[in-house]
């Protein structure tokens, strides 16, 4: 017992030493790890539709479609470290909406296409008995890409083209979960998590009325935490399907198919 707790603590210490990774890095998965008891690899591909509210002075709803490929290594069904290579697009509502009647813009939504980013994570699991257990995880992501979009603005009879650049997106998540093993090997799980998510934003022209000015501002998550729940379902030939929902200030959902070597 003491040894197991020491191992879990060590994993968290190691993960905490990593630099913070990227924005919404994907699903958290079941607390219990998938790798073989003797140690081994498992891989996964996944998709997550992610929504969250970011705040600066006004609030913006940010949406991502995230696809990722994951490789994980763990041992004894107790602990696991994993890395992900992912790509995400970005939409942000009201990024270009003016609050002054003198500034009129065409279209208010910011949109840019897929950028690659990376995620690192670790999890530890402690089985209470054959059916129940609990675990903790840490996951961090960093997106080095620059998301850019522009909008034409008519202000006092003059046209401007305003470019908005959002970059340095990162997040770090820390959570715990309880798991129940159902008939058929289905693992149902749920738990709370806390997170930090940040991004830098900068507008090319200082247009009165637009919330994101030329000064570098940063966006941060509105809610400090949320909850997640999901199920991990065995398929055929070593494949497993994981479906998961996450709720912070908005609802996100995704699915992943993993393969255990």
């Amino acid at each position: 017992m003491k040894k197991r707790l020491t191992r879990i603590s060590l994993i968290f210490f190691l993960v905490a030493a990593f630099p913070p990774g990227a924005l919404a890095g994907g699903m958290f998965g079941p607390p219990q790890t998938l790798s073989a008891a003797a140690g081994g690899l498992n891989t996964a591909i996944g998709y997550l539709y992610h929504e969250d509210t970011y705040k600066n002075h006004p609030r913006h709803k940010m949406r991502h479609n995230i696809i990722y490929s994951q490789a994980a290594w763990g041992k004894s069904g107790m602990w696991e470290i994993y890395g992900r290579l992912a790509a995400a697009d970005m939409k942000m509502s009201d990024a270009f909406r003016s609050c002054l009647p003198a500034a009129m813009n065409i279209g208010s939504e910011f949109h840019d296409y897929w950028k690659f980013f990376g995620t690192l994570g670790a999890k530890g699991f402690y089985p209470v008995n054959r059916f129940f257990g609990g675990g903790i995880f840490m996951q961090a992501s960093y997106n080095p890409g620059k998301y850019t979009d522009e909008t034409p603005v008519l202000y006092n009879g003059s046209f401007f083209v305003a470019d908005l650049e959002i970059k340095n997106l990162w997040d770090i998540n820390l959570g715990a979960g309880l798991q129940a093993t159902l008939p058929g090997g289905i693992r149902a799980y749920a738990g709370p998590f806390v997170y930090l998510a940040r991004a830098d934003a900068r507008m090319s022209h200082n247009i009165p009325g637009l919330p994101l000015g030329t000064e570098k501002t940063f966006l941060k998550n509105k809610s400090p935490g949320g909850g997640y729940f999901g199920a991990d379902i065995p398929l055929i030939r070593g494949f497993r399907l994981n479906i998961e929902g996450q709720y912070t200030s908005r609802f996100s959902a995704g699915a992943a198919i993993s393969y255990v070597y």
């Binding site: 891989t43 591909i45 490929s69 490789a71 030939r237 070593g238 993993s258 393969y259 070597y261």
Partner: protein, 299 residues
């Protein structure tokens, strides 16, 4: 592009000398040798002119004893003097360049890394194997190859791992090429060639250069030295996983050149035979012993 055209021109020229199986004969009885095959029946029926016993005791044939018995085939080796020079060159290349590089590489790169490199190389060979399966009318093989490619791309970290070959999924790699495809359609070996650097081959099997280069995506990486470096890495990586095999073969042989030639041609003939058994067009012909067919015909 120029390289590609030159290669194609060379293959076309070589193909002129690559007789179909029905017309393949040994050029010289002394340099010809035997190998097992049922894939090239016409060659198999040619008696060895130096073997007098081939022309008598016709009544003593007993097909019942060995319905799948070994048949004798021949391959000509008119370029033997040149081939031997190329063989010595390749031998020196192996011992002086490739093996030392492979030993150092093996010491630096752990085995899982080297296996991953091998897996990636194999993964990128999918277009060639897929095309060969289609041309051989082995549609099951083409589907398996595609399944392997998808699974290994998605769950094999882009091809670095090979989960498709695991016991759960068990999709076998279709280890075939355009040389075997020509063999499936009855094209004979032609004659034996030893290419400098590339090793044993024949005019027919030289078509495999198309697999290895024109249908291999890294061949198109620019600048040219990047793709050359990748090819060199593949050679060294492959050698590092098989150090000792070549030494065993040539060490046990009285004449390493002949041993290499026998091993190569037998391996290729068996491969062609196996591919014919999977082909929709040809598997009926190789499905069973002759007497079974005769019995079916009588009925």
């Amino acid at each position: 592009m120029k390289h590609s055209l030159c290669l194609v021109a060379i293959f076309a020229w070589l193909a002129l000398f690559c007789a179909p199986a029905s017309g393949a004969v040994s050029g010289d009885g002394k340099t010809a040798y035997a190998a097992n095959t049922a894939a090239e029946p016409a060659m198999a029926q040619m008696p060895d002119p130096t073997d007098e016993s081939a022309y008598d005791d016709d009544d003593d044939y007993d097909y019942d004893d060995e319905p799948f018995g070994e048949e004798r085939v021949t391959i000509s080796d008119p370029l033997e003097p040149v081939n031997r020079i190329a063989h010595v060159f390749n031998d020196r290349m192996y011992f002086w360049v490739l093996k030392p590089a492979a030993v150092v590489y093996k010491a630096v790169a752990p085995e899982p890394v080297r296996i991953s490199v091998k897996n990636l190389h194999s993964h990128l060979g999918y277009p060639a194997r897929f095309l060969s399966c289609l041309l051989q009318t082995d549609f099951t093989g083409a589907a398996e190859e595609t399944g392997r490619f998808v699974i290994n791309t998605l769950w094999g970290i882009g091809g670095l791992m090979d989960p498709a070959a695991g016991k759960n999924i068990n999709l076998e790699k279709q280890d075939t090429d355009l040389g075997e495809t020509l063999g499936v359609y009855g094209v004979g070996h032609g004659f034996y060639i030893v290419w400098p650097v590339f090793g044993p081959s024949s005019p027919r099997d030289s078509a495999s250069f198309i697999d290895e280069y024109l249908l291999y995506p890294p061949f198109y990486i620019r600048p040219w030295y990047a793709s050359t470096a990748l090819t060199a890495l593949e050679y060294v990586n492959s050698a590092s996983l098989r150090i000792g095999e070549y030494e065993s073969l040539v060490g046990a042989a009285i004449d390493p050149y002949v041993a290499m030639r026998n091993a190569y041609v037998q391996y290729r003939m068996k491969s062609v035979q196996a591919r014919q058994a999977r082909s929709l067009l040809f598997k009926e012909e190789t499905a069973g012993p002759p007497e079974v067919k005769e019995a079916e015909d009588e009925n």
